[in-house]
């Protein structure tokens, strides 16, 4: 079963819910990278 189908089944998500979740994951990754990248670049300097 595709990941998104499995998520829909497991967490009662709709198609819109899956789209929103993908966006949420994307921006969480960006936030984590920005915060950690920021620290790393400061230390590296």
């Amino acid at each position: 079963m595709k990941f998104s189908e499995k998520m829909k089944q497991t967490y009662a998500l709709t198609d819109v819910g899956i789209r929103n979740m993908k966006k949420a994951v994307f921006w969480t990754v960006i936030v984590n990278l920005v915060v950690m990248g920021g620290q790393e670049s400061y230390i590296s300097l």
């Binding site: 998520m7 009662a12 929103n20 994951v25 969480t28 936030v31 984590n32 920005v34 915060v35 790393e40």
Partner: protein
């Protein structure tokens, strides 16, 4: 940072602050923008959609066949729409995006760290998969505990609902103390099950959290060993320590929520059950030729219990067809199948030559007025309760229907007349008044098919006379299906269909059936004997 460290240890001058402040400013702006985006796409989008989820569930429930409501009671469904959606709302907004985002960002950062020092990377991150393996390994146990907690909560709400619905019976049978004791036991059980579930989950969540903290210790140990061995410098260890605190932060938070994520799968299963149950559908084009209702070898069963067996009869337009028989003989089921409140298992029911199962239930019900023995009224004004029969009816039409249903007099005596709020399910009205309001609704709707399901069974003589007057006006020229226990009320029916144990045993006019001396004549005799009984 290195320049600052060297300045602090006296090896060099302080570096220029401007570059650092500029970098700090850029970092703050980027961080702010990305945090806002993250918030909007996690919490914001979920909160905006939760109302839609509840509305979709309510809409699905509205379209489900009535057989579904035999499997899940009202308290259970209310808990799904409110409680289960609440549980999932928190998981959708606080857990899923956060957790999967943490997986991906950690993987990306781990790859970057590997290039700096693979030994320190392993020392820092080994604990993450171990901690999560521990939690995922106990997932089924957590879910079964969660199902038990949910079941205990439902038992409490069922019990509460029963106490409220049966308050009168409990009081007159002096069972208040017994019910309170039982209720107290159920609340205690719920509390015990919830606490043990929380404790069980807490042990594994905290265990995983402790394992994760070990990663910090192993990083320090490995880092200091490497510094002492001269294979790494202090700045690398310092950077690893800074980074792993950031890596652990989302995981730490997720660990606390991951148990909730597992538990939410129980709620999701209950919601999916509603979504996955097939709804009654059909064509919206419905053009019947007349309004004869024909039952052709119809059989029906609730689950495995056969209720109707091979039932065939015709209710003609302009005639009154009465369904009679003992309780449980299948009369009410016939009426409900005719209006497609349920679907027959086999055979065919047609209205005006069109198979009712091919018609959208909402479109079909436009041709039906149904008056039940148990009238349902809404916590609204009398005017709006009658207007339910025809949403676009004018006030004048509502008043005309109320007059025809013999309601006008008692409505005008209410404190605010037609604008009086009648309370939850019309609690401020008597049984006869409630019944007449439901007939006014049916009169206003003026549908070509009328189903009367024991419409006058619980009324006193005065109210029954008034209701009968209203009914006479409602039934003129319609296809009428009457379910009645009192033989007197169907004396003028055009046709009587006698049912026994889910089968049609006799069909004919009342006068004809009386002379046959079979089932109908037997029922008449029993009612006559009953009417002559005195205390």
């Amino acid at each position: 940072m290195k320049d600052f460290m060297e300045a602090l240890t006296g090896k060099a001058d302080l570096p220029k602050l401007a570059n650092y402040l500029l970098l700090l400013g850029i970092f703050l702006v980027v961080s702010l923008v990305t945090h806002i985006q993250q918030y909007t796409n996690t919490y914001g989008s979920v909160y905006a959609k939760v109302k839609d989820v509840r509305m979709n569930l309510a809409e699905s429930l509205r379209k489900l066949p009535l057989s579904f409501f035999g499997k899940r009671d009202i308290a259970d469904l209310t808990e799904t729409i409110m409680g289960d959606v609440n549980t999932l709302e928190h998981v959708w907004s606080h857990v899923l995006g956060y957790l999967y985002g943490a997986y991906i960002s950690t993987a990306v950062i781990a790859i970057g760290l590997l290039f700096m020092s693979w030994q320190l990377t392993i020392a820092a991150l080994w604990a993450v998969p171990v901690a999560f393996m521990l939690l995922f390994g106990t997932r089924k146990l957590v879910m079964s505990r969660s199902a038990r907690t949910r079941k205990a909560a439902l038992t409490v709400s069922d019990s509460m609902q029963e106490m409220l619905e049966c308050a009168r019976e409990i009081r007159v049978t002096n069972k208040e103390a017994d019910f309170l004791k039982q209720f107290n036991e159920k609340v205690d059980t719920h509390e015990r099950v919830t606490l043990s579930g929380e404790l069980f989950t807490g042990i594994f969540v905290n265990g995983a959290s402790v394992i994760m903290r070990l990663g910090m210790a192993t990083t320090i140990l490995a880092g200091t060993s490497m510094i002492l061995a001269g294979t790494a410098d202090f700045m690398i260890l310092f950077m690893f320590l800074m980074v792993i605190t950031r890596i652990y932060a989302p995981f730490d938070q997720s660990l606390a929520l991951i148990a909730e994520m597992f538990m939410s799968q129980v709620s999701a299963g209950r919601i999916r059950e509603i979504y996955d149950t097939p709804v009654a559908t059909g064509s919206e084009d419905f053009e019947p030729k007349g309004h004869d209702i024909v039952f052709d070898k119809v059989s029906f069963a609730y689950e495995d219990e056969g209720v109707l067996k091979n039932v065939s009869f015709t209710a003609k337009e302009g005639e009154v067809t009465a369904l009679v028989g003992a309780s449980g003989s299948g009369k009410s089921t016939c009426a409900r199948l005719a209006a497609r409140l349920w679907d027959a298992r086999s055979g065919k029911i047609t209205l005006g030559g069109v198979d009712v199962q091919t018609v959208d239930p909402e479109v079909l019900l436009r041709d039906y007025s149904v008056v039940f023995q148990d009238v349902t009224l809404f916590d609204d004004t009398v005017m709006e309760n009658i207007r339910l029969g025809k949403r676009d009816a004018s006030d004048a039409e509502v008043l005309a229907a109320a007059k025809a249903a013999n309601c006008d007099e008692f409505i005008r005596n209410l404190p605010q007349g037609y604008l009086t709020n009648i309370g939850e399910n019309g609690s401020k009205l008597s049984g006869g008044e409630r019944q007449r309001i439901s007939i006014a609704r049916a009169l206003l709707k003026n549908a070509p098919v009328v189903i009367l399901d024991e419409a006058t069974a619980s009324l006193d003589v005065e109210n029954e006379t008034r209701v009968q007057g209203a009914l006479t006006r409602l039934l003129a020229g319609k296809t009428v299906l009457v379910i009645a226990h009192r033989m007197r009320t169907i004396e003028n029916a055009d046709k009587v269909v006698v049912m026994n144990d889910g089968r049609v045993v006799e069909i004919g006019s009342p006068a004809d059936l009386k002379t046959r001396k079979t089932e109908f004549a037997h029922m008449l005799q029993l009612q006559t004997e009953s009417a002559n009984w005195v205390i």
